[in-house]
């Protein structure tokens, strides 16, 4: 019995490979045929805007801290209305490993991954993206989210006017 099994085990693989020889290849010929990536494909990073059209990124440095290859750098600054934003924001895609940790770290959902994977170029500096190349005009995923409408420090709305906030206290009153 064992001998028969051995012989079968030796012969059968030949049959398998021969059969596959006449199967259709599953590989696609890339530049001519393009694959549609999955919705959560981790491709090129973008910076999105909130529903009010403002930059979502507040330059909190969490993405650059989370980045295992240190490809994100930025400088935060303040707008006149107290809004924190990135004076400059740089992602070096020649270093990026598309791990997605930055998007997980982002508290304002500003940095998001797209399905764009066609970044290859011969010019190294072309893959060092600055803020104007990263920032898009849309909201990306979670289109409704606006960090400043949830953080109670009075930037998008006056202080105490966000949902779930009571109006500012009058500190000079002792009335209960």
């Amino acid at each position: 019995m064992s001998l028969w099994r051995d012989i079968k085990g030796t012969i059968q693989p030949f049959w398998v490979t021969l059969r596959y020889l006449f199967c259709r290849p599953v590989t696609i010929c890339y530049p001519e045929q393009k694959q549609t990536p999955a919705p959560r494909y981790r491709g090129r990073l973008i910076l999105t805007r909130d529903p009010d059209g403002e930059e979502r990124c507040v330059a909190c440095y969490l993405c650059s801290a989370a980045c295992p290859v240190d490809c994100i750098s930025m400088q935060a600054t303040e707008r006149e209305d107290g809004r924190r934003y990135a004076a400059w924001f740089r992602i070096n895609f020649s270093r990026c490993i598309f791990c997605g940790l930055c998007t997980e770290a982002c508290p304002t959902l500003a940095i998001q991954m797209t399905a764009d994977y066609e970044l290859a170029t011969r010019e190294l500096l072309q893959v060092v993206y600055e803020k104007d190349e990263l920032l898009i005009d849309g909201c990306g995923k979670n289109a409704q989210y606006n960090f400043y409408r949830l953080a109670g420090i009075g930037v998008a709305a006056p202080r105490g006017a966000n949902p779930g906030e009571s109006p500012p206290e009058d500190i000079k009153s002792n009335l209960p």
Binding site: V58, A59, C60, Y61, L62, S64, A65, S73, Q75, A76, T77, E78, R84, A87, W88, F89, R90, P107, T108, L125, V128, E130, K131, F147, L150, A151, G152, I153, G154, V155, R159, G160, G164, E165, S166, P167, P168, E169, I171, K172, N174, P176
Partner: protein, 798 residues
Amino acid sequence: MPTLIIDNLTVTVPEGTNILEAARQLGIEIPHFCHHEALGSVGACRLCAVEILAGPVKGIQMSCMVPAKDDMVVDTCSAEVLAYRAQVIEWLMINHPHDCPVCDEGGECQLQDMTVAGGHGIRRYSGPKRTHQNQNLGPFISHEMNRCIQCYRCVRTYQDYCGGTDFGVLGARQRLYFGRFNDGPLESPFAGNLVDVCPTGVFTDKTYRFKSRLWDLQEAPSICPHCSLGCAVIPGARYRELQRRRARTNKRTNGHFICDRGRFGYGYVNHPDRPRHPLVGHRRVTWQEGLAALQNKLQELGELFGAGSIGLLSSSRATLETQFLTKRWATSLGSDQVCFEAHPVRDQGARVAASQPLDRSASLEDVRNCDLAVLIGADPLSEAPMLALALRQAARRGARIVVADPRPVVLPMACERHAVSTDKLARLLRGLSRPQQSALPASLEELGGSLSQALLSARSPVLIGGTDLLGPQGILALLEAAEACSQPEHPCRTMLLLGGPNSFGGALLSADGPGFDSLLEGMEQGRIKALLCFEADPLADFPDRKRIRAALSRLDLLAVFDCAATATVQEADLFFPTTAVEESTGTLINNEGRMQTFEQVLSAGTPIAESAGGSHPPRFFTRDIPGTDPQPAWGTLGALMGRCADLGALRREIEKADARFAGLSLLDANGEGRRIAIPRSRPVALQPAVANAVAPDQLSLLVTETLFGSELLSSLSPCLQEAIPAPFVMLHPQDAMRLKLEEGKKVTLATPLGDLTLILRIQQDMVPGVAIVPRLRGTALESLVPGSEPLPCRIEKA
């Protein structure tokens, strides 16, 4: 000495220690917000709960409020305690605005840490959050009240510890508000400490607003270079820019806090006008070219006029290593014309101060623990701000603080004031040496005598003097008085305020060498043809601006090694950039003789914010980093002497050459520093000061240091500019009435140096017959230098 068990570990602690601190001794950190080592406990935050299983009290207790007792058994993380803490955190977070991404405290926030540690992730309470309006608290502090967790640390720091009166707590129950009654800058010069003590982001550093996160900062233990006290600080830098300073703990000196001059004076490192390249004439050259030009010129002068024609000047800003190598280089050049301070009074004063017996020299810790402090001619807030804070801690423990000064000395607490004019301070000191009882002192001698009596009977008295007003004779008299008032069991300690962070080191090294006035004479007579300034600014520091300018213009060679665009740098024939304190390693000796080393925080270079012009950093890559030319002065000196730049070897050499610096090479920048081994010998031949005659209708002009704007480096800091006052002159009400002048109006001050238009301030606590102006660099008052003889002057309406 109770012995108790915490988490199955036995510990013995001094009587009165609370459980939280006892646990800390075991290395167990009990989470807490409101407890602070310097501020004590109030039991407000309820987070430090522990379970006491056995002992006088049982059950869940606040560890910061329960003193350790014998046979206590404490469990710091039983299930019940953990649940309790988690609940406390959840309560504290009820009103929190959830804005960590835009909060500067993020990354170094105790509330963040505790929330994560407490396991609180999802808000369960659905009620509304209370909100507050913020206040504008001036140029240093940002206010965001919505983040407050009512731990009271800020009020306890500001009011109790620092003695500020314009900031407090308002409102009741959950509406508690920590701020001022109205918007406005915080008045206390220690307001910056709110940033360090606040466990969340209510108070953040406005000058550092949105610049970096803690994890991105390069930090290293350093020393504050803005006065002679040598407070411990931790500067933080990023992108080649020094972005902030925060307090480091050194219990012997500053304790846990620093003053605002030290905290916000860091900006000079990034100053856009800072010269960063070697210059010959005003032409940029390489280091090799510059050093070759220097050496050629020196050789030429040496051959023509002899080595004595080369003068070397270092300063109290230079590190001990730089000063030592300056002296070594002078020796190898064959010149004896070397000195370490351009201000003769400060130079001689420091030399006397450096001769005080070391066991009598008071540290700030001694001041904090004293029961009587007598300040003679010392204005702590202006000359050494942290001394004022130390005096306040002494006063809070019940110490008596006596101030004898011509100036209206402001201290952050009540104290005994005696307005004594400068020339009479000597009489007071004379009296101090002769103790006598007198209930109502009629004369200065008698006042001195009664103070002397008090010093004799005090447990730990401190006698504090300032070099600028007292001068070398005064300091000598003060040291003698301290000796006279000392008893073997409780000596009278002395603290002398010096000109700069390393005046003491310069005084030790200068031995009986010439002062700058003798170098100046040499320059005027043409004996000295070359002056090499190592981090020294004689043009601004020498009291007689005209004389020094004329002398400098006679020189064949003026070479300056400095890290700031000083007045002397403008005149220099050769300029070599040196590193700032934060950019190099070195040693400073503070006013009590404590050697302290600092470590390099960042490498010298033009900040990216500056080189990129506010935009993103350049999109090209080169090997060269802009602005990296500055070298430590000791490194440059080493190169000139053909030595290798090995700091360790240099320190060992200093130790070997001079027994006073024993232990230098063993110093740890994170440690408490180390007193020098032996004081210097007392200098001789002090020429008595010649007082300028003041006509009866004239006032005597007294120039003094002030908190912001007097000290060179901090006055260059852009963050401090808003706090620097407009030039003003202070008068006693009597004089103001006599001259019919009004407070706040513009007046003309006529001095031998020219007429100045200033704003008048009328001060009650000063001596009459004197007009007091602060030294303010970069203003009309630039040329007036403290520590010089009082000039005659007149004041008229402008």
